[in-house]
């Protein structure tokens, strides 16, 4: 028995005789049909040939109700907010590429490659998308070579999930081909992270298609679902019929165009949160968070206040806003929120404990402090009957607090200075 017979015996039974070595590529020249169907041309490089498809869009081309070149109206201030990072104020869209790849699998690892790399960039008044395509594995080095050449002219990039997917994958490909990696750019704006920060509460899913549908009111026609892409490419490798590739090229271009206008859309949300229709409901809580983190307190407060009325994020908005007031020493405002919270049963125990701290340490009104702590304790007890589990730590903490306040109350009547005794580190409460 020779080896192939053995191999067949080994495999037989598992797969039902689909083994027909049709792997042999038809020997015909695929260039004419590639040109006709995909408008692809070949590029010669020192490392061999590959295909390229180029599309030029006007800067005022509208994609999802937004003009492509509106990204140039984004001010440095807003860019900082989108990226949540102040170095991005120097980000320049005329020196940036938008990048998206189509790959042979989603599993990652060294056995996955990008067979289509789409790069979009502004050129004068136009937006150009260049798609590097390999019609077989041996064209990869050539395509990577061309990509390197193009990237020399840019210092920034924009991607959607590129930080954890496209860029590491391409870096691996460069390394496997023993080529220098051109992807280490000064700026990399990964829109997935930005979109997640801004829209996750409202949209739930922040996949590009969900963002397109919900923010840009876009509906693609003739698209292909991402998970089908590898098998379509594998089939192409075998039969070299480019028709089924058409939707992949389209898909890749749409992804790139959407990145452009998604950026513009985010900019609008930040620029004029209350006038723009690009912002709604839960977004205000998210905006509040970004503003707060970036130290823009006024805007942050404004957004949180608006979010107080949005049921999904109400509790968190109340909580964060009250803590923000507390940090700013705006105690009255904070107190009003906590009382509101107790009244409306929003994160009640937290609010009561905060009130207790306020009364105990700030106002030194121990009666009131004891009163709210007692109420918190009762609430926890009630919660215990409903939730079932013991909540032991929470109860112990509250009891300790109550005891301390009691102590101070009595001590306070004897000697008011003793009130300072409170700062012994036990005051951390339930935060």
């Amino acid at each position: 028995m020779n080896l192939s017979e053995k191999l067949k015996t080994f495999i037989s039974g598992k797969q039902t005789g689909n083994i027909k070595a049709d792997g042999h590529t038809p020997n015909k020249d695929i260039y004419p049909v590639m040109k006709k169907i995909l408008e692809a041309t070949t590029v010669n490089t020192p490392l061999g040939k590959h295909f390229i498809v180029e599309k030029i869009y006007n800067g005022y081309h509208i994609h999802g109700k937004i003009k492509l070149d509106s990204v140039f109206n984004i001010s440095p201030e807003i860019l900082k907010l989108i990226a949540k990072n102040s170095v991005f104020e120097n980000f320049d869209f005329s020196r940036a590429i938008f990048i998206d790849t189509e790959t042979t699998g989603l599993a990652g690892g060294t056995g996955t490659l990008a067979f289509l790399i789409g790069i979009g960039f502004f050129e004068g008044n136009d937006f150009r998308i260049t798609q590097y395509f390999i019609s077989d594995y041996d064209e990869e080095a050539a395509a990577l070579y061309s990509l390197s050449g193009l990237l020399k002219n840019f210092d920034s990039m924009v991607s959607f999930n590129g930080k954890s997917y496209d860029i590491p994958l391409l870096s691996t490909r460069y390394m496997l081909n023993r080529m220098e990696n051109p992807l280490e750019k000064t700026f990399h704006l990964d829109l997935l992270a930005c979109a997640r920060r801004l829209y996750r509460e409202r949209l739930g899913s922040v996949s590009l298609s969900s963002l397109e549908a919900n923010l840009l009111s876009l509906k693609r026609e003739g698209d292909i679902p991402g998970y089908e892409i590898p098998s379509v490419y594998f089939k192409f490798l075998r039969d070299k019929n480019p028709y089924p590739l058409k939707p992949i090229f389209y898909h890749n271009r749409m992804d790139i165009l959407s990145m452009v206008t998604l950026t513009a859309n985010m900019a609008k949300s930040f620029k004029a949160p209350f006038e723009s229709k690009h912002c709604a409901n839960q977004d205000y809580y998210c905006l509040g968070r970004v503003f707060e983190d970036m130290g823009m307190i006024e805007q942050s407060i404004e957004c949180y206040e608006k979010a107080l009325n949005v049921s999904w994020v109400r509790e968190r908005s109340y909580t964060r806003l009250s803590l923000l007031y507390k940090r700013l020493d705006l105690w009255r405002k904070a107190e009003r929120l906590w009382i509101d919270m107790v009244k409306n049963n929003i994160n009640t125990v937290f609010a009561l404990v905060e009130l207790a701290k306020y009364y105990e340490h700030k106002l030194k009104d121990y009666d009131k402090a004891a009163q709210v702590t007692q109420k918190a304790l009762e609430t926890v007890y009630k919660k215990r009957t409903i939730v079932g589990h013991s909540l032991k730590d929470e109860i112990a903490e509250l009891k300790k607090r109550l005891k301390r306040i009691d102590c101070k109350d009595k001590g306070g009547r004897r000697n008011v200075q003793d009130a300072e005794f409170s700062n012994t580190g036990q005051g951390t409460g339930l935060l």
Binding site: G23, T104, A107, T110, D136, Y137
Partner: protein, 752 residues
């Protein structure tokens, strides 16, 4: 009483003394020392001195010299001989000289790697050097992984992680692979059979990746004593090895005692429980405050033994907590606490599974009691090695169970004390395993035309995989062309991914174990009694398509035994030889097995309580086999007599073969044909019970004479009347007088 007095009493007390089949005294041995070599970094020397090490054992020095001279080495020395310095010294010395140098440490289990890391850390801390050692395994937090890939000087991991987590992502580990200077493989004797065959292929993949990054690491391997440490390590690493087996560590006098519990049922060959006997022996030591480790073979046995010992000890002032259990399933923190307690002498006794057999540091104890032969000579030595002070005498007692292998060893101490008969066997070219790893390798780096894998040309396999649409051949290279991630579909611990899972539905649904596809019809057919960790379960439903067996806890007084009709077809003969009257072959076979019916057999009495049919499709397995045929007129026996004799002989051979193969008895199977379609003669087949074979049958072919002689001894020396499970098998299975017929067959075959 001290241990010497206890041993004296063992010798003199008749009840115990009559059960002792062998008493070996290994005399005290002084240490052989060498100075630190001049090339050893002064920093390392002073760190060692701070730890109280002022010179090296001769084997440590030799290891250091060889590795420094760029030779790959295999170190074979007993437990507690300072083995880890053999690799830590050259590795640390190299990293001190070149901070870019990198090393991978491979340990077969996670627990072991954690222990070794802490030892290594101690030396590094002592030197106050920035040498980063990290464990990289399934438990490593994701946020720590980036730092490990970039900065880890020494990456401690296991083969499974290397297989799925490191090699397929090698570009992320560029720094490691570009600078990889050493690969340490500890406990290399564990890498045998299926696991070893996989590991050899894993290292073939590693070699390709190292070559891509321009590194050529040196291998430092350590092994317990086996017959072929160099051959095994060379086969696994594909590099010529320098063997270092002259142990320079000192040792106190050591007593190794073989103890065979008395027979309680002669007809069935049943002896008194080894667990109870071991308990009595252990208590003798413990009650006299002699620090003792007791090994038991299963987790359940550990718990039972622990309960017994604690019950007794609680009557004494030291109390029940002076005895602790140790096994997989205990929390790491608890384990560390027990290890420390043992080292410091605060814990008097420990009961353990083989978890404490491998190099976890618990110091040296005074006595070890081994309940049941651990399955291999190497394991037994490792367990015995847990007892042994440098300055005083120590004792190890092996208490045999009734199983054939135990009985053979306990009555043939020469197998144990003379050169090890055990071969670590692997078959890296097992086609199933090879093809799996060629897939993984192609995923990692495309194959170039003409490129070899493990020295072999693999064009045909690559072409085959292209036909299967897994690879694509273009531009003189073979590229991975599938969406899947091949390493995730391949387990290093089994031949195929096709295991049946056992789900306990007594209360909720819980997976309690796995059974390989080949054994499923025998063990988990519907109504079968499946025994797991000492608990009986009945199989309620076998979902053959989904490979799931649903079982429920039961408590019954019988077990089930399936009748398996096995057909064996010779596909190819690789080797053959003829002696006098016998012909020996080794080659490839197709085994077709069909479970036909099962019997319910009562415990102890072996009464047949009933039977039932099994409706399952036949299983086919392509594997390697050894077979032996004899003339039809052998010993002037009738056809039935020959059959009975062959059956008995086959049972004995299969039972004692593990002694040479270092395998589990169920890893090989025997079949008897009274007129084989291939040889046309009465024939015994013994095949590797793994698809593709892992090298067992080839070894059996090589040692057939030895095996037959050993079989003869077993049969002749067995005390039973007419066959028992310790020799040819119970007469209900093999017929009357099988012992006699088997002996006649052997006589006809052997020329002596």
């Amino acid at each position: 009483m001290n241990s010497e007095q206890i041993m004296d009493r063992l010798k003199t007390q008749e009840r115990l003394a009559k059960n002792i089949t062998h008493w070996e005294v290994i005399p005290e041995k002084p240490g052989e020392y060498e100075a630190f070599p001049e090339y050893l970094s002064p920093k390392l020397v002073s760190a060692l001195e701070k730890e109280g090490i002022y010179r090296l054992y001769s084997h440590q020095r030799r290891a250091l010299d060889e590795v420094t001279a760029n030779n790959d080495i295999i170190v074979v020395t007993p437990t507690a001989s300072g083995k880890s310095l053999c690799y830590n010294l050259p590795v640390l010395n190299a990293i001190l000289a070149d901070k870019n140098a990198r090393a991978i440490y491979l340990f077969p289990t996670k627990a072991l790697s954690q222990d070794q890391v802490s030892e290594l850390m101690d030396i590094i801390d002592e030197m106050e050097e920035d040498i980063k050692t990290f464990t990289y395994d399934g438990d490593t937090p994701v946020n720590a992984r980036v730092a490990i890939r970039k900065d880890g000087h020494i990456v401690v991991t296991n083969p499974d992680m290397l297989h799925t987590g490191i090699l397929p992502h090698h570009t992320k580990w560029m720094k490691l692979f570009s600078n990889l200077k050493y690969i340490v493989i500890d406990e290399i004797h564990i890498y045998r059979g299926i696991f070893g065959s996989h590991t050899a292929n894993l290292l073939r993949r590693l070699h390709r990746i190292c070559k891509f990054y321009g590194s050529n690491p040196i291998f430092i391997c350590c092994s317990a004593t086996i017959a072929n440490p160099r051959e095994l390590s060379e086969k696994i690493t594909q590099k010529p090895m320098v063997l270092i087996d002259q142990n320079g560590a000192p040792a106190g006098e050591k007593n190794i005692i073989f103890y065979n519990p008395p027979v309680v049922n002669r007809q069935l060959g049943i002896r008194r429980s080894s667990l109870l006997e071991a308990k009595t022996l252990a208590l003798d030591f413990l009650k006299n405050r002699v620090q003792t480790i007791t090994f038991a073979r299963s987790r359940l046995a550990v718990e039972v033994m622990l309960t017994y010992l604690q019950e007794e000890m609680k009557k004494l002032p030291v109390g029940r907590n002076s005895i602790r259990g140790y096994r997989g399933g205990y929390l790491p923190k608890e384990r560390r606490e027990i290890e420390k307690g043992l080292r410091e002498g605060k814990i008097l006794g420990v009961v353990s599974t083989n978890a404490l057999e491998l190099g976890i540091d618990i110091g040296n104890l005074d006595a070890s009691i081994i309940t049941g032969y651990p399955g291999s000579v190497a394991s037994t030595w490792q367990q015995a090695g847990r007892a042994g002070r440098r300055s005083s005498m120590s004792a190890s007692i092996l208490v045999a169970s009734s199983s054939p292998l135990d009985q053979f060893i306990i009555n043939h101490p020469e197998y144990f004390f003379e050169a090890s008969p055990e071969y670590g066997l692997i078959n890296p070219d097992n086609l199933y395993i090879l093809v799996s790893h060629i897939k993984c390798a192609a995923f990692e780096l495309p194959f170039a035309d003409g490129e070899t894998f493990g020295g072999e040309n693999i064009d045909e396999i690559l072409a085959f995989l292209e036909g299967e649409r897994i690879l694509r051949h273009v531009g003189e290279r073979w590229h991975w062309m599938a969406e899947s991630f091949p390493a995730e579909e391949i387990s290093l611990r089994s031949a195929s991914a096709e295991n049946f899972v056992i789900i306990d539905i007594t209360k909720g649904a819980k997976v309690i174990g796995e059974v390989d596809r080949g054994s499923a019809p025998m063990l988990i057919h519907e109504e079968a009694i499946y025994i797991h960790a000492g608990q009986q379960y009945q199989v309620e439903k076998l979902d053959y398509e989904e490979k799931k067996a649903y079982v429920r806890k039961v408590d019954v007084d019988y077990y089930t035994d399936a009748n398996l009709a096995v057909e064996i077809k010779v596909l190819d003969v690789f080797r053959q030889k003829a002696d006098n009257n016998q012909q020996n072959y080794m080659g490839e076979v197709m085994v077709t097995s069909l479970a036909t019916m099962f019997k319910k057999i009562k415990f102890f009495t072996h009464e047949n309580l009933g039977f039932g049919p099994i409706h399952l499709p036949p299983e086919e397995m392509h594997t390697t086999a050894y077979w032996l045929s004899i003339p039809e007129n052998t010993g002037e026996l009738s056809r039935d007599e020959i059959e009975s004799g062959l059956l008995g002989l086959c049972n004995v051979m299969v039972n004692i073969a593990p002694l040479y193969l270092m395998c589990d008895p169920k890893d090989i199977r025997g079949v008897v044909q009274i007129k084989s379609p291939f040889t046309q003669k009465p024939t015994i087949y013994i095949y590797d019970n793994f698809p593709g074979g892992v090298g067992f049958s080839e070894k059996l072919y090589d040692i057939e004479d030895q095996l037959l002689k050993a079989a003869r001894q077993v049969i002749m020396e067995c005390d039973c009347q007419d066959g028992c499970p310790s020799c040819v098998g119970p007469y209900e299975e093999v017929g009357h007088s099988s012992k006699t017929f088997a002996l006649k067959i052997i006589k006809g075959v052997l020329s002596d």
